[in-house]
Symmetry: C2
Subunit: 598 residues, 2 copies
């Protein structure tokens, strides 16, 4: 049976020592988030994840969700009780304004707890995760009536939320969507159509479900300019605001999937279901994008989360499994064989995974803090700068953390040999669950195109220029620090490669946009290397400083971080030049084939 | 529903034009294998794979194998009938000497058919695949009585074979195995013990099963020097040589696995089962290695086979799925959107996969032809040279084709977006099935160690030196050929990197073997790049020659190959320098951590 221990100590080190979150204490919520309170919240969240949610992960995968003949959906045994505990603890409202019954803490705290929950049980974590995304969209775009009606119950978790975008014939290209909204003259609409791949589309956890649905109002323009966003409750609300009669929303079927079996992925049928407009007519995509940015960061974290839990279990196995001898002579002479962790190739795998995980955790936290600043700051310049960074980094976090997170689960599974392929050991579930994160919330190829095609040129390249300036200034500041030699070498080289790749796009992609498309995935991963290398360097600086300051018993633990950072620079960073080489070849070869030649 | 079309035209081009198999017509079997006959055999094998075996792939995955309360095992519906067709067609005996009822064709032909079968249905292909491996071991090591008793029925396929190595506490480290063999004084032994992960361990396809079992004869030395190989039939043979009473062999359970559900992976219990020694006492590993080399090549091909079928289906989807528009303006203006194959990033994925597949196919065929030469040649020098190449390349083919083959199935699945994650589309099965090939027959980390620790230093480095000489001479021969510019550049650079890495090992791994272990996986993949680059250059030469000779209507098809080869050199080869950089960092960083620090 796999196990999981939430990395609270790592999180606190990153928050306090590496990212210095206390510098934001001028922002609402941050002042209240004292170090002691943050530590208490994280420890409680860790306990909930480890003790309540994680034990349901394997059985949830095996048993999955069931759609009954009457159209109702049952989640795996134990999910209902665990969700009830989640509601009772009030986790869902942690970062929601107090006005709606929340606790008004920084969003970053919820984001961190999402990591723990996803490591413990990704399928379970998706239920509150989607609710959080739906709340984010309503908070920004809905009118007060809708907010007052729906948010308080979503904050407690008594009601959950979903996102309804995809239809059978359109996913990425939402301009083609066909779901209709007919105005009823009383401000409401009747929504009709079919949506597919709706995560958490139905379940037996909550009293009501608040579906956010993209649809086209009768007579609206074709394409993406005629799409509106609606709130469509599963059950209509009665005069007291309680769930009453059904609203024409039904589950056509549950998909049989590769993984995340504990979450019901539904085909949803809307049959003249009453819905209410969120935001402006025909501006639904804009409203949905708020939700999608939150969601994309959250999905990136799912990749890291599976990588983390897979790592932890692989370490346990590598220490327990005795097989063969060290290449340099027996390390365990009194036993029949050495544990496989004596082998460099086993360590290579473990350190590849962990050196990624630690920097990836820093990266999503750093990005999320920028998200908090962009929402909360009163300083317009700071707000804009953080919003730029958040927009630029979102596709990188989503794409890189899920691609690499998946690769890492595969590597961790590999250390188990044949046992890795057997269900009872749990490693193959991590692989199957991690796989979805590369696909949903915009497949990673779409993330790469978003980065290269939208985020780079936006506002005359303001965001990428700010990024180069920030990392460049950081390098300049620390260049003389001898302790950082290997870090500086790796970070400088990768930054240089990223700048060269950006320049190459500027020179070539204007003439031929396919030249940007051809290099987009490599560019996203090259960007990821720079970002992760930047985080590692920040971690190293903090670790060195703490060691010098007297490490309070953390010295070995901090030195391990320095070793992991060195490993990352030596072993992972060399990929940078290969990305640049590929980007620089452009699109000519790949576009020269007729479609028929494939 | 996924589909499959066996690449017969590609195979014939590789056999005849690229690898010139007809030059071996002096060897037994090759003379009979005329081009017309080979073409007829491949077409018939393709038809069998496409029409009989492939349609059972998805249902086989879904239904899987069943162990009944009486211990018998049932394969998925249709497998029995398909296997019967296999037996009736005589496929199992294609490359077995006529003396045992076979057709005496080159082994390479069977190896090629194995690719088709695995693409069609890997779980099914494993049943005859394991029989082929068992026959190979018996042919080389068993005495005439055993050969005469078992081979003829295995050749027809009426009986099947298995390999029994792994025990719960030992897989890679067979020296620890505990299964006992008690001599009965009549030349037979009683075998007792438990084996796990036994593919095709039981089924309802064949009259009898010939288990090859590693066990320790009472009083034999500990460790690997006390292991012997036994033939243990599922049912004892009666006086007429027909299967009679049960032999104490039973299936304890069937493993629940990530994939290959159509193949029963069994826990096998041997309870005083009568067995017969194969080869010499205590030399069982040597005998088993024959089987394992065959099997490793076969498993490498499984990786390619899943990559091939995943590619074919991804191409179909990429042409069918309309979504969004080309970056350079609508290509399909009369429709609502363009097919996604207009996108460079989609083509990048498709060409990455296919440019691998075509070179990987050439590589396994080239290696297999060396296997044929090493078995059949009368010229001792030629025999040894081919044997060296076969030994050197076996871990490369196994490790690289399965690692990359798996990655490719994941990339192909990705092109389907959400549909890739849904079982009915079949793509996620390719991923789950491909995953096992990286693990069994020696996990890929073990292959890398075999390459670096055993194959490189063997006989004073004779094999690797011969390899460098061959590729070096090839480069010299073709260096002036302007048409090969991009190929020569890529191949030369990667060869240089491989030579530098080899030199680095020589200088460092003698002092510290961990320095070899730390770079072993990168070395294996670097070797793979050189080998695949070598194959692409051979393909390009053959394609250019055929185009000049008048291509018989194949001109476009051959030009596509040249484009794919160019893509491989531009986009895949740059990885070479990253491998070298990693190898050159050695083991210091990764060995500096205590096990407790992980």
């Amino acid at each position: 049976m796999p196990s999981y221990s939430a990395p609270v100590e790592d999180t606190l080190f990153l928050l306090k020592d590496v990212l210095g979150y206390e510098k934001h204490s001028n922002l609402p919520g941050f002042a209240e988030a004292t170090p002691d309170l943050v530590e208490a919240i994280l420890k409680e969240g860790a306990k909930f994840s480890e003790e309540i949610v994680q034990p349901l992960n394997q059985s949830g995968d095996k048993i999955g969700c069931t759609r009954h003949d009457d159209g109702t959906v049952t989640t795996p045994p134990g999910f209902k009780e665990a969700y009830q505990s989640y509601v009772e603890a009030g986790w869902g409202g942690l970062s929601i304004p107090e006005q709606y019954g929340g606790q008004g803490m920084p969003a970053t705290l919820s984001v961190i707890l999402n990591e723990y929950l996803c490591s413990a049980n990704q399928a379970f974590a998706m239920y509150p995760g989607l609710t959080a995304g739906a709340m984010a969209a309503l908070l920004v775009h809905a009118n007060d009536e809708i907010k007052d009606t729906y948010l308080p119950k979503m904050v407690t978790g008594e009601w959950t939320g979903t996102m309804n975008l995809t239809e059978p014939h359109c996913g990425t290209d939402l301009g083609m969507l066909r779901t209709k909204a007919a105005p009823q003259g009383d401000g409401s609409y009747k929504i009709s159509g079919t949506k597919i791949f709706i995560s958490a589309g139905d379940q037996d956890l909550s009293e009501n479900i608040v579906h956010l649905v993209l649809a086209r109002i009768e007579g609206a323009p074709e394409g993406t300019k005629g799409i509106s966003l609606f709130v469509v409750p599963k059950k209509k609300l009665d005069a007291d605001g309680n769930p009453g009669e059904m609203n024409g929303v039904s589950v056509g079927s549950i998909e049989e999937k590769m993984g995340i079996h504990g979450n019901a992925t539904c085909v949803m049928n809307y049959d003249e279901s009453v819905g209410y407009l969120v935001g402006e007519e025909n501006k639904g995509l804009r409203a949905m994008f708020v939700m999608m940015n939150e969601a994309r960061l959250g999905v990136g974290i799912q990749g890291l989360a599976q990588s983390e839990v897979a790592y932890q279990n692989a370490v346990t196995y590598a220490k327990d499994r005795i097989q063969g001898r060290s290449l340099t002579g027996p390390k365990n002479p009194e036993k029949q064989a050495d544990p496989i962790i004596v082998h460099p190739d086993v360590r290579r795998v473990l350190m590849t995974i962990r050196s990624f995980n630690e920097a990836a955790r820093a990266l999503y936290m750093w990005t999320s803090l920028h998200g908090d600043v962009s929402h909360l700051s009163q300083d317009d310049a700071e707000k804009q700068a953080s919003d730029d960074i958040m927009g630029l980094l979102t596709p990188v976090v989503k794409g890189v953390l899920t691609d690499k997170g998946f690769d890492n689960t595969v590597m961790a599974q590999q250390l188990y040999g044949g046992h890795g392929y057997i269900q009872e050991w749990g490693m193959e579930q991590f692989v199957r669950d991690a796989r979805i994160a590369m696909i949903y919330e915009g497949a990673n190829g779409v993330q790469a195109l978003d980065l290269v095609g939208r985020k780079l040129p936006a506002n005359g390249g303001r965001a990428i220029q700010a990024w180069f300036k920030e990392v460049g200034a950081f390098i300049k500041e620390h260049e003389g620090d001898e302790e950082l030699g290997v870090y500086m070498k790796g970070l400088k080289q990768s930054l240089k490669d990223l700048q060269a790749a950006t320049m190459w796009f500027m020179q070539n992609a204007m003439k031929n946009p396919d030249d940007a498309g051809a290099g987009s995935t490599d560019y996203m991963h090259l960007f990821g290397l720079v970002a992760l290398g930047y985080m590692w360097t920040k971690i190293a600086i903090a670790a060195n400083r703490k060691i010098k300051d007297g490490a309070n018993g953390q010295e070995d633990w901090l030195k391990t971080k320095l070793t992991l950072g060195t490993f990352f620079m030596e072993r992972v960073m060399p990929e940078s030049s290969a990305h640049l080489a590929r980007i620089s070849t452009g699109s000519e070869t790949m576009m020269s084939l007729d479609a028929e030649a494939f």
